[in-house]
């Protein structure tokens, strides 16, 4: 696209194509293009070679629109509730987060609150054993809210700094399942007196426009604090997070870049945009 010498209709079509290819979606792609056109009117290019930087600047502008309330302080313990649709990468992301915090000296506890899926608890336990972190768990089939209640109390009793809660995958359109996760969060809020709770939505980077629906419904149910964009090591660009930030102001906190416990990085806007446009 950027080797073209003229900023003509074909240039704008090609730019729209690149954004669509990256799963940004038509409305957000058009918004980016309108934003760029307005910027060019205000301060025209001296050289078409400046175009890529201008486009990046416009997209970064969208990424900087985060507008979620900060996590309230007032507790030595921070609880992170990890949610998302089936197979997105929640359990693996939790292992990565637990490893990261544990390595930097925090005392970490994991709650195996996916009490539904086959071998979900075993999967958590294997990761926890590998990284040297404790797990609070009950039997498969038990009440997820009960596991969470025990986990918060255990975290306080053991002086844990961070409690990370693994939850069962659930489609955002399933009302009883969304009610269940709201109940899990209510239990945490009650036991934590509302302090220091972070709710993170895991989104698979290969997700298309459905990612916006996921973010909306999980946000309506839980007031999300951030997103973990998993599986960014594939060929998908994860552009749907631009539509999500634009619509809901929810920022991406971390990205997953592989299946190993080290494969987690803090979200970095410039690297993300470079990859999106490559």
């Amino acid at each position: 696209v950027f080797s073209r010498k003229r900023i003509d209709d074909r240039f704008w079509e090609d730019t729209e194509d690149i954004l669509i290819q990256g799963d940004v979606g038509v409305p957000t792609a058009l918004k980016i293009i309108e934003g760029l056109k307005a910027d060019l009117k205000e301060s025209p290019l001296r050289d078409t070679a400046e175009m890529p930087e201008r486009l990046k600047k416009t997209i970064i502008g969208i990424l900087e629109q985060e507008r979620i309330p900060p996590v309230s302080t007032g507790s030595p313990l921070t609880v992170k509730i990890i949610v998302g649709v089936n197979g997105a990468g929640k359990t693996t992301s939790i292992a990565k987060l637990a490893h990261k915090f544990s390595e930097s000296g925090s005392r970490v506890l994991i709650a195996a609150a996916d009490t539904y899926r086959a071998a979900a608890i075993e999967q958590v336990q294997i990761w926890a054993d590998r990284i040297g972190v404790d797990v609070v768990k009950h039997e498969r089939g038990s009440d997820a809210a009960a596991v969470v209640y025990d986990a918060v109390h255990a975290a306080k009793a053991r002086g844990a700094d961070i409690l990370i809660i693994d939850t069962a995958g659930r489609l955002h359109t399933k009302v009883p399942l969304m009610e269940e996760i709201r109940k899990v969060k209510r239990v945490v809020e009650r036991e934590m007196q509302g302090a220091q709770i972070e709710t993170l939505l895991v989104i698979d980077a290969t997700t298309g426009q459905n990612g916006l629906s996921q973010a909306k419904l999980f946000n309506d149910a839980l007031d999300l604090n951030g997103i973990i964009l998993a599986k960014l090591d594939g060929t998908a660009k994860g552009g749907i997070i631009l539509a999500i930030i634009d619509a809901l102001g929810i920022p991406v906190r971390y990205i997953g870049t592989g299946e190993r416990v080290e494969d987690l990085a803090e979200f970095e806007a410039h690297a993300f945009v470079d990859a999106l446009l490559s």
Partner: protein
Amino acid sequence: TLTNRLSDVFRNLRGRGRLSDKDVESAMREIKLALLEADVNYKVVKDFIAGVKEKAVGEEILKSLTPGQQVVKLVSDELTSLMGGSPSTLGLAGKPPTIIMLVGLQGTGKTSLAAKLGLMYKSEGKKVLLTAADVYRPAAVQQLEALGKELDIDVFKGEKDEPALKVAERSYRTADKEGYSILIMDTAGRLHIDESMMDELKSIKTALKPHSVLFVADAMTGQDAVNQALQFDESVGFDGVVLTKLDGDARGGAALSVKAVTGKPVMFVGTGEKPRDLEVFYPDRMASRIIG
């Protein structure tokens, strides 16, 4: 909906009697937006629009009292026929065991699908063996074993640290020797760009010569579905596709994209987490879901 958007486009037709080029362009744009919103790959959309445009300016549409509805029907019919027209079946091998190999990216629903297919065949009276050939993911083997136990279906698992290929080969010998008629192989999720993992699949396929390789894709996959499908088909080769998690609100445009670029049909859809949540794929139902 597309019907509403197209009625807006054609609202001012009456009295004019024929579609102007502008009307056609507006209609094509609405169709393009609907398909992109449904996650159909943008190149597949371009080809589709080019094909539909010619037919959209035909006599019947022009003479119709409801051209918007006619165009929607045209789009729906085109989508349906592109996705295979009518359901495709899996079939059985000439001599048992029929081997079905499940492949795809991480988290798409392969292990769950192994149990679902197992239940389907068991209900038909067949003797089924499931192979736990994902030797990487923590508790992957336990997951398949738990599912097998729930359904009373046998599961073959390897020894500690046994490579996937060896597990697959030994499971085949067991299936053959013990008279299983169906062998369903679950494999680890992997990226289409991971050469060594793609080689592993190639080696398993070469060794076992499965009757069917099924590419398992998540219904919410976006534009990347084309890259994934092309690479899997090129590196390994698959016979059919299973689209999972259709019990959500994902429009599932990947179904069209994958068929368009590989020619391989979607055969089943996953409609939930339980083993019974497996349905045959109906192109016409998928078409109306994609249109929205």
